[in-house]
């Protein structure tokens, strides 16, 4: 198992290297560039050329890439062309907000999705099942930002149950320890701050969770149906085992295998969804950094963000493979 993890981690290096090259080339093939985006109306060919020289963008692309790689190896992703700040520091500050949001969304999706999918499968063809299937169809079809605005308009503006945006109310002063506001509140025993942060999290997390939730429900349902019809479940029933034992020990464990793969794939979608959700709820996280970087062609920041995304994706799927090996003894690592 350890050797498998190490081997996979080593494989990550060439993957990221190749990806960095692709990202690097792709960004520079886009029309316009940071200089013209940055200068906006004041852009004249001379000023663009000068700025490009300052940013090193007048060099041949492989020279640029070589320099970029050299710096990255020392942990330097360069400075943002928008703010002039080191990209890594910016990301470090924004990361907790996005992680908090995504993790809660994923927890909601998994914690609701698996039981709901199971319930639907168990009552196949019944009202619960039909309602669930229709619900998931709507869930995957509604765009995240639309749902986000809808939730905000109704639960924040209309009913006032939750704050409409941001991560903390202005009048709450919280001590910053880790950047994860909910966690910080718990650490510093400022529980009101934790609670306030949590109430800010609810709407965006729900908006972000819908699509993964719907997908997990559908996969769980299909997978449980499949397992319910299998011979070994019949054997389990022929032993007279209690229904709870059959469910948890025989059906669920086998049904979770495809579900865990799906959860891994959802993380990619979750990152994309986070960009939109953060926009709707003014959530100063990675999504905001990314959106700005795209509009203003902030190469260094885009490069770092895309590589970060890829790294997260690869690591999550490594976790999925490990969970597979834990659930299924036939998988040898």
């Amino acid at each position: 198992m350890l050797r498998f993890v190490l081997r996979r981690l080593v494989q990550v290096v060439p993957t990221l290297l190749l990806l960095s090259l692709l990202v690097f080339a792709w960004l520079r093939s886009l029309p316009g560039g940071p200089a013209s985006a940055f200068l906006g109306d004041r852009a004249t060919p001379e000023r663009i050329a000068e700025l490009n020289r300052v940013l090193g963008l007048d060099q041949p692309i492989f020279v640029q890439y070589g320099r970029f790689l050299g710096r990255v190896l020392t942990g330097d992703f360069g400075a943002s062309t928008i703010t002039g700040q080191p990209v890594l520091a910016e990301i470090g500050r924004a990361l907790p907000a996005t992680v908090e949001l995504s993790v809660l969304a994923l927890v909601i999706a998994v914690a609701l999705g698996i039981p709901l999918g199971y319930l639907a499968a168990q009552h196949r063809g019944g009202p619960v099942d039909i309602a669930t299937v229709i619900g998931t169809l709507i869930g995957v079809a509604v765009p995240v930002f639309f749902l986000g605005y809808l939730l905000k308009a109704f639960f924040a503006v209309e009913l006032g149950w939750f704050p409409p945006s941001g991560r903390l109310s202005i009048d709450v002063d919280a001590t910053n320890v880790t950047g994860f506001v909910v966690l910080d509140g718990l650490l510093t025993r400022e529980f009101d701050a934790s609670l306030d942060a949590l109430s800010h999290l609810v709407l965006p997390a729900v908006a972000l969770a819908t699509i993964p939730l719907a997908v997990i429900v559908r996969i769980t349902r299909a997978s449980v149906l499949d397992v319910l019809g299998s011979d070994f479940v019949r054997t389990a029933n022929s032993k007279g085992l209690a229904p709870g034992t059959v469910r948890s020990r025989h059906v669920l464990r086998n049904a979770l295998l495809p579900v865990s793969t799906t959860i891994g794939l959802q993380v990619g979608l979750l990152l994309a969804g986070a960009v939109l959700t953060e926009k709707v709820f003014v959530w100063g996280g990675i999504g905001t950094l990314l959106a700005d970087a795209i509009t203003l062609k902030d190469y260094p920041r885009l490069q770092a963000l895309l590589l970060l995304g890829a790294l997260v994706y690869v690591l999550v799927n490594l976790l999925v493979d490990l969970s597979y090996a834990i659930i299924d003894p036939r998988v040898r690592l």
Binding site: G240, L241, P243, R249, N254
Partner: protein, 326 residues
């Protein structure tokens, strides 16, 4: 002797949307005495497994109608609640299935699959149950049983898996064991070993055995009484030696003639039964076997033959093979 199991007029119909019901088992009746070994024989699709599943109450609850009665020790199993039935399954009656690989849970060690039934019906604690499970595995001929408790199904050979399934089925010493084609997925030498093991075990534990098979060879070596099933009905039943000696139903006759025999005079041809099971006539109006029957007369396609019992033999045929034919 009072029978252990009395199946009376068992009927299983699968409801299909927009189509008439499929009647998979139609009016099947038979008894099993304690410790007796009986056979249920017939071609694929004749309703053997459905009969077994109906007795075990393992058919899906929806879309299936089961009528008749299945009495175990005088209690009608079909009248029990699901939880009362769960109390009995695995304890009073249990089943060994056809495909040992798919019938074992792939992600759980063999040991737990044996001990869970002991824990459920005997209330055994973890350690005593493991000890008992190891003894059971040893008894069914699995070498190094202590270590095997931790093995997963995919790590065992086909024969070992079937042995494990038998150990599970017999763990609580049920009074009735139903074996549904327990050897069809295995190669021939292993088949013989498994049959021998089953024979020993039912003798040892005093369990009655219903042996389901399409293989008359299996029946010949094991069963005292043989029920021949065709199209969901029992067409002939007799003691083994009588059935093999003088088959009266043309279907049984055909089945026996289609088995290759080493002691047959050279030159004697094997005779296959014409047609296939799909050439069934609906039972309400005719004998289902009539389209394939070499002895069919007009009556066969017009009236359903009734089951008649004489001299310990049940027969359902308008024009049986004469008793002196062989």
């Amino acid at each position: 002797m009072t029978p252990l199991l009395e199946v009376d007029d068992l009927r299983v119909a699968f409801r299909r949307r927009g189509e008439p019901d499929t009647v998979a088992v139609d009016g099947v009746s038979f008894d099993v005495a304690p410790g007796q070994v009986i056979g249920l024989v017939g071609e694929s699709g004749c309703g053997k497994s459905v009969t077994a599943m109906a007795i075990m109450r393992l058919l899906p609850a929806r879309g299936v109608r089961v009528t008749g009665s299945v009495q175990l020790d005088g209690v009608d199993l079909l009248g029990l609640s699901e939880s009362q039935m769960r109390e009995r399954r695995g304890k009073d009656l249990s089943m060994v299935f056809q495909d040992p690989l798919s019938s074992l849970n792939p992600v759980i060690p063999i040991g737990l699959q044996v001990t869970e039934v002991l824990a459920r019906h005997r209330g055994m604690a973890k350690e005593p149950a493991r000890k008992a499970a190891a003894d059971l595995l040893e008894r069914v001929g699995i070498p190094d049983p202590r270590r095997r408790l931790g093995s997963y199904p995919h790590q065992l050979s086909g024969g070992m898996r079937q042995r494990a399934l038998i150990a599970i089925a017999l763990a609580c010493r049920p009074r009735l064991l139903i074996a549904d084609e327990p050897t069809t997925a295995l190669d021939v030498t292993i088949q013989a070993q498994i049959l021998e093991l089953l024979r020993e075990l039912v003798r040892e534990t005093g369990a009655a055995l219903i042996m389901i098979t399409h293989d008359l060879g299996v029946v010949a070596g094991l069963c005292e009484t043989v029920n021949v099933l065709y199209g969901g009905r029992i067409v002939e039943r007799a003691q083994r030696h009588r059935l093999f000696g003088t088959p009266r139903h043309p279907y049984t006759h055909g089945l026996l003639r289609s088995i290759p025999r080493l002691d047959a005079p050279s030159g004697e041809e094997l005779v296959a039964i014409r047609g296939s099971v799909v050439d069934n006539l609906p039972w309400e109006h005719a004998c289902a076997f009539a389209p394939r029957c070499p002895r069919a007369v007009d009556l066969c396609t017009g009236t359903t033959p009734l089951a008649e019992t004489s001299g310990g033999r049940l027969l359902r045929c308008h024009n049986p093979v004469p008793a002196s034919a062989e």
